[in-house]
């Protein structure tokens, strides 16, 4: 018998409800996605191309008549500038340290939210407070907390210490502000990952003689790996573009600029479109490289990209 070998559509034949054929489904899909795709393309696509074009020109709004094509000269300028490399280093330091802290702290909070016996709702509600707060508002809070005289935290330091005016203490505070604000998001993502770990697997491991720490390390963590990697990818790229906290806390003074802050200052402060665009392009490329490393190197599956979703 070879008449029909197709598997019967499973319990989800809804997809086939409009069986006018694949073509109408395809057209509908395209029409429905078109507006979103168009907006995203228009607002990002052309500016990116334009940004690349600008980065190849000498273009300083203060000296518009000196505009001209300089090809890679801007890149040479930026890539040989100690300011750029310092900002780059600071950004990397902030990114790595804050993401690591967020992961550890976020995991702890996720476990608390997931396992606590009392007030689970209250816990989940409370951690949303840092998420809901406007970054700028929170940053001001941290700035005043560390301002000598004004701040309750500054009061804990030796008199005369102004941490925000020193490079490393300031970077520490920037990291603190960043970690505080974004850990809850990380914790929520990790908690969702925790929910995917089957209780039975943990019980079985306990029966097999695994202690709490072993269960966490040998059962929970491996099963959560996809969730952890996805959360790390999102947060790493997000941390890399850090701007708000630095702008409010130090405005990039004392060598605390991130790449975003330094690009912003070149653009708005310096009105130097050529250099600003060059930095924009470099930041974009860096982000792409980080994402590439995550996806290809660590096998992070980005949501919707993997086949298992349907």
């Amino acid at each position: 018998m070879t008449t029909a070998t197709r598997a019967e559509p499973p319990a989800d034949p809804g997809r086939r409800a409009q069986s006018e054929g694949k073509r109408s489904e395809r057209n509908l899909g395209w029409w429905l996605c078109a507006p979103a795709a168009l907006v995203m393309l228009l607002v990002t696509g052309w500016p990116i191309v334009y940004s690349v074009l600008l980065s190849l020109q000498r273009y300083d709004l203060r000296f518009p008549d000196r505009r001209g094509w300089v090809w890679l000269e801007n890149y040479v300028t930026v890539l040989t500038s100690p300011f750029w490399w310092q900002a780059f280093g600071v950004t990397m330091v902030i990114t790595v340290i804050s993401v690591v802290l967020e992961l550890v702290l976020g995991m702890a909070i996720a476990l608390v939210m997931y396992r606590t016996l009392l007030g689970r709702g209250l816990m989940r509600t409370a951690v949303l407070v840092p998420y809901g707060i406007v970054t700028v508002a929170a940053a001001f809070g941290w700035r005043y907390a560390w301002t000598p005289g004004t701040g309750w935290l500054a009061g804990l330091l030796p008199a005369g210490d102004a941490p925000l005016t020193q490079q490393w203490p300031a970077i520490f505070i920037i990291i603190l502000a960043e970690v505080w604000k974004t850990t809850p998001f990380m914790a929520l993502l990790l908690m969702a990952g925790l929910a995917l770990v089957p209780e039975d697997a943990l019980k079985a491991a306990a029966m097999d003689g695994a202690g709490p720490w072993q269960r966490f390390r040998m059962i929970t963590l491996p099963l959560m790996k996809p969730a952890i990697l996805a959360a790390l990818l999102f947060r790493t790229l997000d941390a890399f573009r850090i701007f708000d906290n630095i702008y409010i806390l130090t405005n990039g003074a004392q060598g605390t600029s991130s790449v975003s802050v330094i690009a912003y200052h070149n653009l708005i402060g310096g009105l130097n479109l050529g250099i600003g665009s060059t930095m924009s392009v470099l930041i974009f490329v860096t982000v792409a490289v980080i994402a590439f490393v995550f996806v290809k190197g660590l096998g992070t599956s980005t949501p919707g990209q993997s086949g298992g979703r349907r």
């Binding site: 395809r26 907006v39 334009y50 940004s51 980005t302 919707g304």
Partner: protein
């Protein structure tokens, strides 16, 4: 039981730590906002004398009020458009099979991870060229763009969870396709749409980089940007109290909103991440 009480006590202590973590920095800003000019620099966590002057002051500040109006207006318009456009795309992604679907998803993911600063430079120049600089649409457009990936991801997850058998059942019960949508699917999709709208609004409300880069006056400057330009009503006055009060004003409504929709927001925030 002794052991039980110990467990409860331990969890109580751990919970308290988490609570302190989440709330202390916010309480600090609140405290600052209630301090009067005389005690604002005393460094105490709890105000010694309370005043509402800071709040009264910022609401008399036209720039701040204007910033609030801008924030609310720009945020709402961006959210509504992003939800409209995003719902269509999310429906297509969740329910239809068509080539290019993963392209749409991949592209929105790309945008979600895109460094905003890389857009600021070209947009600054383009907007000035076509007259969108320092206008509402000049902010609304990038806000829609950055809210869309979130909208598409979150909504398509919500949509996937709707039992679409119900649509067929409604048809069998005698509903037209539109009735099936209005009476059965829409009520089930509404909670997801509301949640997504809140998340999208937060994205717009929270933005700072576009707001300070693409505006030059209170015509379109949003509240967070306005606050960062606060200098106090005179050069002798310290703006700390005003800034703290303004920070509370722009924070509290969102926090209340978020807390009110806590359960939904948690599921919305995490929806896209776990099922990948």
């Amino acid at each position: 039981m002794e052991a039980d009480r110990r467990v409860v006590a331990r969890w109580g202590a751990i919970n308290l730590l988490v609570l302190l973590y989440a709330l202390v920095p916010v309480l600090w800003i609140a405290s600052l906002s209630f301090k009067d000019p005389a005690t604002i620099t005393d460094g105490h966590f709890v105000p010694r004398s309370w005043t509402l002057d800071n709040y009264k002051g910022i609401f008399k500040n036209d720039d701040f009020v204007r910033g609030l109006v801008n924030s609310i207006g720009i945020g709402l318009i961006s959210t509504v458009i992003a939800i409209l456009v995003g719902t269509m795309a999310a429906y297509a992604v969740a329910r239809l099979d068509f080539p290019g679907k993963s392209l749409v998803l991949g592209f929105s993911l790309l945008i979600a991870m895109f460094p905003q600063i890389s857009l600021v430079t070209p947009l600054f120049q383009i907007w000035r060229g076509i007259g969108l600089f320092n206008t509402w649409p000049g902010l609304i457009l990038p806000y829609i763009t950055f809210a869309l990936p979130l909208t598409i991801y979150t909504l398509s997850t919500f949509f996937r969870e709707i039992p679409w058998d119900l649509e067929k059942a409604a048809k069998m019960d005698g509903a037209t396709p539109f009735q099936a949508f209005r009476l059965v699917i829409a009520p089930l999709a509404a909670p997801g749409v509301v949640t997504t709208a809140i998340l999208a609004f937060i994205v717009c409300w929270n933005d700072f980089l576009f707001a300070i880069s693409l505006t030059s006056s209170s015509a379109a400057r949003t509240a967070p940007a306005t606050i960062s330009f606060f200098t106090g009503s005179s050069q002798f006055e310290d703006p700390t109290g005003s800034i703290a009060a303004a920070a509370m004003v722009i924070t509290v409504p969102i926090v209340v909103f978020v807390l009110f929709f806590q359960r939904r927001i948690v599921s919305g925030l995490t929806s896209g991440a776990v099922k990948g």
